[in-house]
Structures are given as C-alpha cells and as structure tokens.
Amino acid sequence: MNLPGLYIHIPFCKTKCPYCHFYSTTDITSVDVVIASIVREMELYAGEFDTFDTIYIGGGTPSLLTVQQLDVILSGVHKHFLVPPDAEITIEVNPADGDLAWYRSLKDLGVNRLHLGVQSFSDQALTFLGRRHRADDAFAALDNTVRAGFDNFGLDLIYGIPGQDLQSWRKSLACAVSLSPPHLSAYQLAIEEDTPLCHSYRRGSFDIPDEDASLSFFLETSAYLERSGYHHYEVSNYAASTSRKSRHNQKYWDHTPYLGIGPGAHSFKEGKRWWNHRSIEGYLKDLALETTPVAGDETLSREELRLETLFMSLRTAAGIDLAAFRLKFGEDLPKERHAIIQSLVDRGFIVVNDERISPTTRGLAVADQLALIF
C-alpha cells in the first residue's frame, strides 16, 4: 500500500471567484486562530496517521499566508508526522501574491512543488473569471518560481470561457507551453451549483460551449499538449514526464488513504470517508473542545467502492488495473463483460490488454458514462 497523503485546506481568499465552490471566506480576521487549530487538528490525528509522503496545501488561497504562518503549519506537520525526505510538498499559489523573497522562503520551508492558479493568459478571460491577477502577474509568478529554484511546478488553465474560441484557447496553450511548466492542468469551466456564476448562468447572462464544442476543446487540448511533449495522464492533467505527475492527486484516484485538515477538508482511510465542517465557526468550536471537527462520514459499501474505483480509474490514462480489480471485487471484467468491452474497443473508447482497460482520449471525454457501463 502506498503511503497516505496529507491535504491542508486554507479557507481564506482576498476575493471570491464566482465559479469556485470550494469553501473559503474573505474575512481574514481569524487566520491565526485557524492556523493554530489546523496544527491542533493534526495533533488529534497523530495516532491514526504517522507518515505522509505527499503534502498538499490548497484552498482557498494559501499564498495569502506569510512565511511565518506557513512555517507554523509545516512545523506542525513535522512535529506530529513523519515526512520522508523525498516527499512531494505542494502549495497552491495565486499569481497575484508573493514576491521573489516569499517564493525563496517557500523553498527554505521545504516546499518543493508549486501549483500556480494562472487560469488564463487573457485579461478579458481573467476578468470574467473574477481573478484578481492579470496576465502579466502570471508571467512574473512563473519567473519567480524559476528564479527561486523550483523545478517542479504546474499551471492551472481554464477553457470553455464565454467568448473563447478554439483559436484563442490555442494561444493560451502556446503561451503556457512556452513557459515549459513540468505540469499542466486544463479544466473545462464547470458551472457548479450555488455559485454566483451558476446564478448568472441561470439568468441567461452568458452561454457555455455545447457538448460538441466542449469535445473540440478537449480533443484540441489533448492533441496540442501531447504534441508539445506532455502526457495526458488524467482527464484534466498533463505532465512533461512520469516523475512530474502530481503524486498527491494520484492518491485520490486509487483509494490511497489521505488525511484532510482544515475546514471542509475530506479524508479517506480503509473504506471510510469523512469530512470537516464547512464553516470556520463549526471547525473552531469542535477543536476548542478537543474533538476532531468532523461534520459527517460514510463507510463505503463494496458496491460504492467498486463504482468509485471504476469512475476514478477511468479518469486516468492508465485505466483499470484488472488484477487489482479482480482481487478487490472478484470480477474478471474482460471475461464477464466481454461483449460490451469489445463494442467499446470497436468504437474507440477504450483499449484493452492483459493488465488494463485504458480509456483512449475520446474515452476520457466520456469517462463518467464509461464507468456506468461496467
């Protein structure tokens, strides 16, 4: 079994982006209290988890934190858990935040991977997305990243923004590739329930690409980045080499245990998933009482685990590990589902060999439906 991963959620943002459904607040008065509680929460889990080989500080906007505040958190991690020297330690950075000195300090704190929320190289698109940085900030952030000596970092990009056509998207991709990031995430803009973007979409304020257009964006992204030397290893993720894949995210997709710390964070271990209060008040209140700030949990049935295994495996280029699947669920898919597998192969959605059922690029585009077929 792989070693577990640690996720730390920093629930603060300077401004809220209208499309985002992650938990965060713009009221930053309680930052230090929350940080202290995050450390407190880690202590409560010290008996249950001991070693993490990936740490991911996300949010929210963790780049709002000062070096000192980040130091408190990471010192807490090291105090309560073992972190092997080759651990992947990632932090999400908003290109509007931090100067070169800050980036350098991250390095000193042991952070070895940055994830930059660039989203777009078009100021117009950035305005639509409600981002507080401009395209120039992104270039500066990349510059700082490289100058501070980070060799492992990734960019987030969003496509399917109203007004964006394939041509302008290709320009954004070209721009990204020219900066040679070892990792790229390209997400289609999703209209999440209960976000300001969803409300204005419902009011008819803008259009989003239809299914055909979405597919064109998706295939074009994949083709362009593959041509540029990236491996399309998950629906929305690309890596310049195997070692540059996000090791942390991989744990979500293969049911490796992970501990989520901070308001709204989710954890998973041994078939059980639990999640923290999605409010700072609820989170702090529980921790003040020395109890874990868990809002809810579920123990996955075999059937639920099976469905998760299918839809998460089929999101990755590697696909379903047949031996592992047989071991876990007692099913020999190629044998038992021969006809449907053959028809999916014929239609170009999957490829099959003795070890794996892997989605093609077109298969990745319909991964959710593929999962439902098995």
Binding site: N249, Y252, F268, R273, R315, R347, A365
Partner: protein
Amino acid sequence: MSNMDYIRNFSIIAHIDHGKSTLADRLIQHTGGCDARNFQDQILDNMDIERERGITIKSQAISLPYTARDGNTYNLNLIDTPGHVDFSYEVSRSLASCEGVLLLIDAAQGVQAQTLANLYLAMEHDLEIIPVINKIDLPSADVERVIEQIDSELGLDTDTHLKCSAKEGTGIEDILEAIVQRIPPPTGTPEAPLSALIFDAQYDSFRGTVIHCRIMDGVVQSGDIIRFMYGGATYKVEEVGHFLLSRQKRERLSAGEVGYIIAGVKTISDVRTGDTITLENRPCDKPLPGFKEVKPVVFASIYPIASDDYEDLAVALEKYKLNDASFVYEKDASVALGQGFRCGFLGLLHLDIVQERLEREYDQSLILSVPSVRFRLTLKDDTVLYVDNPSHYPPQMDIAKGEEPYIRAAMMMPERYLGAVMKLCQEKRGMNSSLSYPGPGRAELIYEMPLSEVIYDFYDRFKSVSQGYGSFDYELIDFRDSNLVLVDILVNGEKVDALSQIVHRDRARACGLQACERLKEEIPKQMFKIALQAAIGGEIIARTTISAFRKDVTAKCYGGDISRKRKLLEKQKKGKKRMKMIGNVSIPQSAFLAVLKSDTD
C-alpha cells in the same frame, strides 16, 4: 323485519370535483356513522389513489341511521357512485338501486357536462332528484346563476334546490330531511320471489367476494341457495348484512334494503355488476332490466421492466383482478419486451389507475405499450377480425376493410371557447356536429369522433383549450369505415413492437414523427448514435437520431469531489436499471409513456 317506509335509498351524483365525497363524509358524520375522532376525510374513497386524485373509482354503500324531525328513525342507504365517464355503466347500476339522488352542483362552476349526463341517467331511472348547490362558502360562488341554470339547463323546479357547504358542514341537516321527505321509500314485495340487483362487489381476503346488492323483491338469508341469472352459477349464502362503517351481519335482507351477501364466491369476476340474484328453488320470472356485459374499450400490454419480474407481475395481476371485475387480461409476448400481459380497460383513466395501483400497491415496475382501441377488420376472404393488439395486425394486403369504433362526445363550455374546441374536434376527425345553447353564454357541442382519437390526449387538450371550463362526456356508438395502417417504431433498426400503433393512414406520418420525437426527448444519450424510425411495412415515414455522448466527464475530481460525484453517478445508474434494453439501446420507462402524451405543451 324492517319496514320499507323507514328506508331511503339514494345516491349522490355530480360532475367531478363538485364535492361528492366531501358531502358523503358530512352525511356520515352528521348521522353519527362515525365520530369525529375516527373521522378520516372522505371515508368512502378508501383507496389512497381515490383520495389523492379526488375521484371515486369504486362504488361504495353505507347505511346511515337518521332520526328525522318527525321523530322516526330512518335507514338512509347512500350508494356512492364512481365519478368518471369510464365507469358510467357502474353508475347506472347504482342508480337503478335507488329511489332518489342528490344532484350536487358546484356553486362556482355551475352545471357541467357530467351534471347533465348524470341527471339524464337519474331521469332514465325515474328517480326523485334533489338539486343541491355545494361550496356556497367559496368567494367565487354564484348561487343565483346556478339557480338560473337549474331552471334553464336542467329543467328542474328551482324551488326544489338546497344549499350547502360540505366543507364547512352547513346545510347538512336540511339535506337529510329532504332525503326523508322527498325521496320515496322503496317499493317491493317481500313475499315475492327474490330478485336482487348487484351494483358492486368487493374482494375480502378472508370471506371471498362480498356482493353489494339492492333487494327488489323477496328475502334472502343465510342458507339460501342463490342463482345469478346471467352468470348462471349457484351459491349457498353464508352471510347477509348491512353496510355501516363496517359490515354488520343481519338475519336476512328483505325487499327495499341495500346490503351485502357473502356466498363463497371465489373471485370477483364471477360476479357481474347488473346481474340479478334470485333463489334457486323459487326463482323470479325474469332478470331485472339493464344488464350489460362490461366490455373493455382500451387495450394495452404491460411488461415488467426486468423480465425476471414476470412471475411477480402475474401474481400481482391475479391479486389485482380479484378487486376489479372490469379489468381483463391475458398472456402476451413481445419480441422487444419479452413476456407480458394484454389488458383491457374501461378507458384511459381506468388504465392509469390500474397501472398506478400495480406500481404502488404491488410494487411493480411496468412498461406499458401504446394503448389501442379494438378495430374491426374484414379480410379479403370475408373473415371478420377484431384486433386490439398491433402485433396481431394482419398483413395489409389481406385486409379488405378496416373499421374503428366511434363515440358520441358531448361537451359543455362557455361560449367563448367554442371556436377552439371545434377546431380540436375537427383535428380529431370529429363529424356530424350539433350545437345547442342550454343557457345564456353556454354551449353544448356534440361530435361523433373515433374513440382512438379520444383515448390519446383529447381530454387533456380539451381541458387546456377550454381553460378548464369545459366538461366532457361520451358514449360508444358504432364501428365506421377507416383507412387503417400499422405504424411500427424502430430503434437502431430493431422494431419495438410495444410502440406499434394502428392508426388512420392520414395520421400515420404525424403519429410516427411524434413518437420518434418523444422518444428522442426521453431516451438518454448513449455511447453511440441511435436512429429512431417510424415505418409502415418497409416504408420509413419518419426518422430522427439521438447523438452519442460526446463529452461527459467532470473537469475536477479531487478529495472533496469524490463522494458527491459518486452519488450523482449512482443516481444515473439507478435510472439505468429502470430501463429496458432493446438491442443495445437502454430505453427508459418514461419513453414508453411519453409516446402517448399530448403534443400541446
């Protein structure tokens, strides 16, 4: 022996929603048939479905002991009647068991088509009619107008009317007094040979069939050997009694009384509404008039969604049938849907009810084929065939003549909707219309129309074009020539026989196209393109396609997204389980239903 002078047999008749069940409840409550503590709204509508839909499906009877102002105690036998045109024969048998009716009219809506139809039925049976204006508490009540209608449209003496609000409980005492004073006591000769009219029957899992009847002449008691004059079978009476809130055993039932007979009749199908019961050893001369074999007019096949559930469905139907004599079924098999049953119904409402009860009470997931009427086909060799199942439709080249059943539809509406309703009737191949104005601003329109046009969506569309102010009633008249064809629906080239329809040639293309489009809306996208076609024989008359999934994957799936996403997929997966595989295409239950729906919305 009870004295007939102290018996009153009556029924409440009304247009749908005019408050029949509520009034019945009030009468029961008022006469102490039920104390307030046990009072459950609409006691007589005791099926969930009846309460939810606000309609009475089965006849019910109850005896109300009432001490009138004259100091005497009367037995008021209320025979509740079904409130929908599908069940008009049952209504007529209930009325034949009465001496009078309360004709209930909604103070806001006034006289409607069924008010008239029911009035005529009551008149045919020579019943005393007491018009009762209900819902006088409504702000929109217009009592004066209704009184005017009682005179001009119903031709009744306006002095005879009573006013009440069944909801508020006002005017109830006056109604009870009027029943005693104005409805004549039953007549009949207890000494004569037994003749009893069956107006309903219910199934009791402990006692078998409970026959509801009105004793016209003679006496019946336990131990008697009775004979059904049309059915022919004989039975030994086990128990007789009255209907109070529950069955109350009595020594005997005598001329003029309403009550029940339990005689070891195994299934309800052995009892036919309208049949006459007499004594085997001392029969009456002839059966009571008015018996009719109830014949289904709408037919459809039902299939379990999962073929494994066939046996369960068979059991459910058998059980259901125990309580619904007018429902008929036989085995049927579909190439596309596997084993199922061909069923006959009194009308579309009846079909709806059966489907809903099977799903709800017997926990069945069903697929229904497109309902059909029964067509009459004359083949070239002069054989005459009655076909209600499209899969039994003979080759077109063998058919010399096709005929379909016609109805006479009576519709009432405010004059301003006349144009829209006439247009609808013409679209539905209506002919030989006649128009009359029973009252100022109110029109009555009669059309002869093919029944097949009415069973699809006529009623919904009629309601919509008349904005709910129109009312509708119909009777079957005869078979008429019709240029019939069989329209098949093909999904990816595979014929889905449950979607085949026998239709008039002029309507075939529209019908086929509509079916294809409905299916397109209902069949979810799949991993491959789906071709939908309508065909007459080998000729494709309509087509459309459902495109394949092109992109369907969420962009992000990290720690916090997984449970949420799994739940979404589980929901989809559950939906898929309720689908039927035709070839390689999953078709949801809703698609089969959608093909029948109205195209106005």
